[in-house]
């Protein structure tokens, strides 16, 4: 039933009407495509993020087809796809899909992950959630590594566990893990893994090394010996996040001005902080929007 459909999206502003959602099977263009009747006849701006990569399998063509259908159904709505990578935005640009790069990590709740005062007991922490055994084996020479399933932990408990290590080792799995390490003040060692986290994994506090135990070990030990102060590592990550948020705000206000003829609509990033809640019933996602 409609009311039981769960979506990842919310109404950011009612007047003017701006929504932010994530593209999913049940809502290919976010909450507007899940409940078009709620937006029919209303001028609206819909920002749609991507929950999965569209870099492969011609998925960008599917986005274009979905957008074409949405444009026909909601001619007064304007859809802008927020891509996690520049290449995704490029692919969409070849198909006339209005898109701009805006990594969903931009919206991460950076306050939930902070450095702790804990003395490091481990050289590295490595989240094992959903990572194949052969990937974890790459860390066999990395020293004293805490292999933990971080998905089981949340909030302060998670940060505390991460804080027991000197280095964050990201070998795959949840991409936000690499960013959480950085926000907790841990430099990161990883291997070439495609995905949205790549955006922030650059020197001096990240090292991308080949899929080789010796290279991984050398990188981990290098960072562990360097003892980079945690606030410095977090500071660098926050510098990048503030930069992306600054440019997102400029962009969204210009889009709102073009769409609604007025602005600026958003004088701070506050309405977007924390990103999107977990999937929830459609009626809840549309709360506050008179239908």
């Amino acid at each position: 039933m409609e009311q039981e459909r769960r979506v990842k999206g919310r109404v950011i502003s009612i007047d003017p009407l701006v929504t932010y959602s994530q593209r999913e099977a049940s809502a290919p263009l976010g909450i507007a495509s899940a409940r078009p009747d709620a937006f029919s006849g209303r001028r609206a701006l819909h920002l749609v993020g991507l929950s999965q990569t569209i870099e492969t399998d011609n998925r960008h063509a599917k986005v274009a087809r979905d957008l074409q259908a949405a444009d026909a159904e909601l001619p007064q709505s304007r859809f802008v796809i927020l891509t996690n990578t520049e290449f995704e935005a490029y692919l969409l640009s070849t198909l006339r899909v209005a898109a701009m790069p805006c990594n969903d990590i931009t919206f991460i709740d950076d306050g939930a992950f902070r450095p702790t005062e804990t003395r490091a007991e481990f050289d590295a922490v490595c989240d094992t959630t959903a990572i194949p055994r052969e990937r974890l084996d790459l860390a066999r020479d990395a020293g004293n590594v805490d292999f933990s399933e971080l998905a089981q932990l949340h909030g302060a408990a998670r940060a505390a566990l991460v804080g027991r290590a000197s280095v964050g080792l990201w070998l795959g799995g949840a991409e936000h893990c690499a960013i959480e390490y950085l926000l907790c003040g841990l430099p990161v060692v990883s291997t070439p893994i495609a995905g949205s986290a790549q955006r922030y994994l650059l020197p001096p506090f990240c090292r991308i090394v080949p899929d080789d135990p010796a290279a991984i070990a050398a990188a981990v030990q290098g960072f562990a010996r360097a003892r980079v102060p945690k606030p410095v590592v977090r500071g660098a990550m926050m510098h990048a996040l503030r930069f992306d948020r600054h440019n997102f705000l400029i962009a969204i206000n210009k889009l709102a001005k073009e769409t609604f003829g007025r602005g600026p609509v958003f004088d701070s990033f506050a309405p977007f902080e924390g990103g999107l809640p977990e999937p929830r019933p459609l009626d809840e996602a549309l709360a506050g929007l008179a239908t």
């Binding site: 490029y90 790069p101 510098h239 400029i250 889009l255």
Partner: protein, 331 residues
Amino acid sequence: MGTLDASPERRAAGAVVSLDPLITIGKNEIDLPMGLASLWPERFEGKPSLHLIGLTWSGEQHERVAELVADVAEARSRLPRATFVLLASTPNEAVAFSRAGIPNIVANGTLFVDERQFPPATPSSQRRYDAAYTARLDPFKRHELAAEIPSVALVYGPPTDAELELAKYILPRAHFANHANPERKFRYFDQRMIAKTLGNCAVGLCLSAVEGHMRAAAEYHVCGLPVVSTHSVGGRDRYLAGPLSRIVDADPDSVARAVADLKALELNPLAVRDHVGALIALDRHNFLIALNQIVERELGVRERFRSFSPFLGLPVTWRKTSDISTDFLPR
């Protein structure tokens, strides 16, 4: 569309950054809309190539997008095996281009400034001037907005007599750096001389309402000057994030107040350079990831670029076409 001047002495902003596969970078100029592909189409006939095209002016306006659509279409018609990718200076340009079907990535012109050519002043350098303004003596640069700043150093391209006279009238107390020589004649400033002048100043100014990414803004950043800018269109505000810059209303008092505020901070130029440098590094990192993916998709070659070095100083540097031509020689 302007008439093409293909003489060897004519200057253009472009370079060949890869011979195999064949990849160029250039600027959308009036008579060279697709850079080197417009200058020498015969060099690209019959073989695949990729052309990265930066803009000299904001691409956010609707009519500008229409022009670019036509430019790309014409170029594709002439060179069907070529791929043209515009370098958008802002996410809004990216949205506009994408909607119009113009392949693009966000790559603000500031990325390409060669910071090695612009050493920052030392922290102990004496700041003789409150502010510097590197800008043509052209009305769109709005020099009048600097009128309330106690001391300003101006760096500019060759002006007409009328432009120079007007600027002296608008800013009678300003230091006209390019004419500050015994002959009082205009002298062109190279990068070293620009950096030296900026080293005598506390703050950099950006006062136009609309232009491109503004190369001067990038030069201020790498020379370690905090920046005061008016609200603008074109992309220079990309790096004006945080406490080391101010974006103000377009009136002389607001500009002067912001200059005074930043000057009072007595910022270490090295710290300013590092602050912006980290952001430029982030953008370069992501530019390379995207470009390598595009090259793989369009030209079938993986990991073509391992570093940003081939792009430093391009396409923001204008060279004689006779010099650019040597880029096609095997290295």
